[in-house]
Symmetry: C2
């Protein structure tokens, strides 16, 4: 299509925001920043790591000798429980207190691993812990939203290479989730179906943005992807949150996470940095038939293991902009070997 | 105030989005990424620079021997003129063509300079060129929005250290600008004043978030600042765009830009990276009494010249989060020496 070969805008139907696509732009020369290629740490246990089993953390607490995925309350949490409720409004300034809980989830006792290098059954255990946390945190009285995410790689602000993710559970429903909430609800009201059910049906039929699919999940580059190799993993059934996954679905979820992160590592033969997040229904006690959970990966790399896409001036003051199309990205990812490059 | 010492949310009245503030959080240890401290290049002319006067660019074009601020059409533009108008909608996928013009603005022929190191009268010349570009581009038939911005430093994706900024002029009004448009218009409808007039009056009275002020401009850390040392420069008069600045106002604008960028360099005694953008009224031919232009600086550094704030997992999937309060940032900036550290 002519339209896709020239600068154009695409609509993100989940946030109702547009992204500018400039397919002609990858030709420009690069005299800018090169990152050092990210090499995964090699030792299975690192004495200086705050997250390895048995080590003492910066706060003075000692990690147990855990052998399975392990979670604990973040010693330097951005959110704290029992913050007294306060609301402030004075002229054009407005604030409100916020309480919550931040946890760290160690994926494995082995310091040298990452999700694509973990065994399938061990990824399933991570998902089982996420399910338990989502469930337990979500049931707490003042917790209306639970975000499970992973910042992988120092390019993505990860302050420790031990395989781990985070959970921030809180009182308010955050901005990005509210946007999705609105889009989900208005579609549900009109169609009595989740917008993501209809979207993935359309994508599966079209095929061109699909990266991997299995019995219960599909992974695709969304039509409105912002990051060069962004991927969204969506369950085929309209599940509102991960605790609804049964054993077979959890196995499929682990499988597709392993596949997607393996393709990522294989793309530039590096330990591929990204932020991943699972957007799920708010835990506000209300019924949310409109919600369809999904896990998104936002990886910064663009041209190689060392050159990333910067979301800066134009992107900050106008709107996101990308250089290759979603179709090109999906095509490149889909054609990569399925075996991790370190094991091939 | 108790509220400000614990985790809380603040409302951005320009976008109607919230930011999470966690003042207690700067205590956490940092084992993550360190950037190399940014040192400004020393040579006034660099033979390998695409932007120096007289040099040949990657495209093959030769720069004139310019002696004043100089602009030209970007050789690798994200936006192109004369893109045929097309609209595409198929089920849940929606796109539209976009035409526009991307320009590069060299601030000075001298490769070794940055805005804080330039003479006041030379910054005035940069502003005069911005005014001319905003005016001329904005009058073109298919251009409804003009964004003037600078990505400074390789941390902010700047691919060339020569002092320069960019202008992206385009058909559509981008997402971030539409959000401001809405907030501006609804306030104007109710009060027949710009929301920024009332906001800066309130801030000037309170004082605690003001960084610098002169005859025609104020620079402050907005109440809802996202980036650690974010600053917004606002004209005291409700001007909709920079072309309305007279000579005295242009002089004040140059002065406050020089002051703000000098404070920034002095903060960590480094050439301080940032993205800066001027949000102005759309050039869609409509009357926009609600618009009040402003120049914002989004700098990534948090703790030192080498440790930045990462807007990653939580920030991408939930909402922006900051560690020090706007009041603390303003206080730190305000107390810095006013003379550039390299000249003190
Ligand atoms: O055109 P430049 O300066 O090479 O590119 C820089 O600014 C652009 C506009 O903010 C971004 O899209 C790019 O990612 C960034 O590297
Ligand atoms: O808590 P961490 O992993 O040290 O911190 C990282 O993730 C957080 C949540 O996305 C961000 O706020 C921090 O900027 C980032 O460095």
């Amino acid at each position: 299509m002519q339209l896709y070969e020239q600068p154009h805008y695409r609509l993100n139907i989940l946030t109702n925001e547009w992204v500018l696509v400039s397919p002609q732009r990858t030709k420009r020369p690069w005299q800018g920043k090169s990152e050092k290629a990210v090499v995964a740490p090699q030792k299975p246990h690192d004495l200086s790591c705050y997250l390895c089993p048995g080590n003492v953390r910066a706060s003075g607490a000692t990690n147990p000798e855990y052998t399975e995925p392990y979670s604990f309350v973040n010693d330097y949490a951005a959110l704290l429980p029992d913050v007294p409720n306060e609301i402030f409004k004075e002229g054009l300034t407005q604030a409100k207190s916020e309480s919550g809980i931040c946890k760290v989830v160690c994926f494995s006792p082995d310091h040298s691993l990452t999700l694509p290098l973990m065994k399938l059954e061990d990824i399933e255990k991570v998902i089982a812990l996420w399910q338990k946390e989502y469930d337990e945190l979500g049931k707490l009285p003042n917790i209306n939203h639970v975000l499970i995410f992973e910042n992988k790689g120092e390019l993505m602000g990860c302050s420790n290479p031990h395989p781990h993710g985070q959970i921030w559970a809180q009182q308010s429903i955050p901005t990005e989730v509210l946007k999705k909430n609105n889009a989900f609800a208005s579609y549900w009201d009109q169609h009595q179906k989740t917008i993501l059910s209809d979207y993935i049906s359309q994508e599966i039929e079209a095929g061109e943005r699909i990266v991997v699919q299995n019995n219960h999940f599909v992974a695709l580059v969304p039509y409105w992807a912002v990051w060069p190799y962004e991927i969204m993993i969506v369950p085929l059934e309209p599940l509102a949150h991960i605790s609804q996954l049964d054993d077979a679905q959890r196995n499929s979820f682990a499988q597709i996470i392993k596949e997607v992160t393996t393709l990522y590592d294989n793309l530039f033969e590096t330990s591929f940095p990204y932020s991943a997040g699972i957007n799920q229904t708010p835990t506000d006690g209300k019924d949310h038939p409109e919600w369809h959970f999904h896990m998104s990966f936002y990886p910064p790399l663009l041209r190689s293991a060392t050159v990333k896409k910067f979301m800066v001036g134009y992107e900050m003051f106008a709107n996101p902009q990308r250089d290759i199309t979603a179709e090109q990205a999906a095509d490149i990812l889909r054609k990569l070997p399925r075996t991790h490059f370190t094991k091939a």
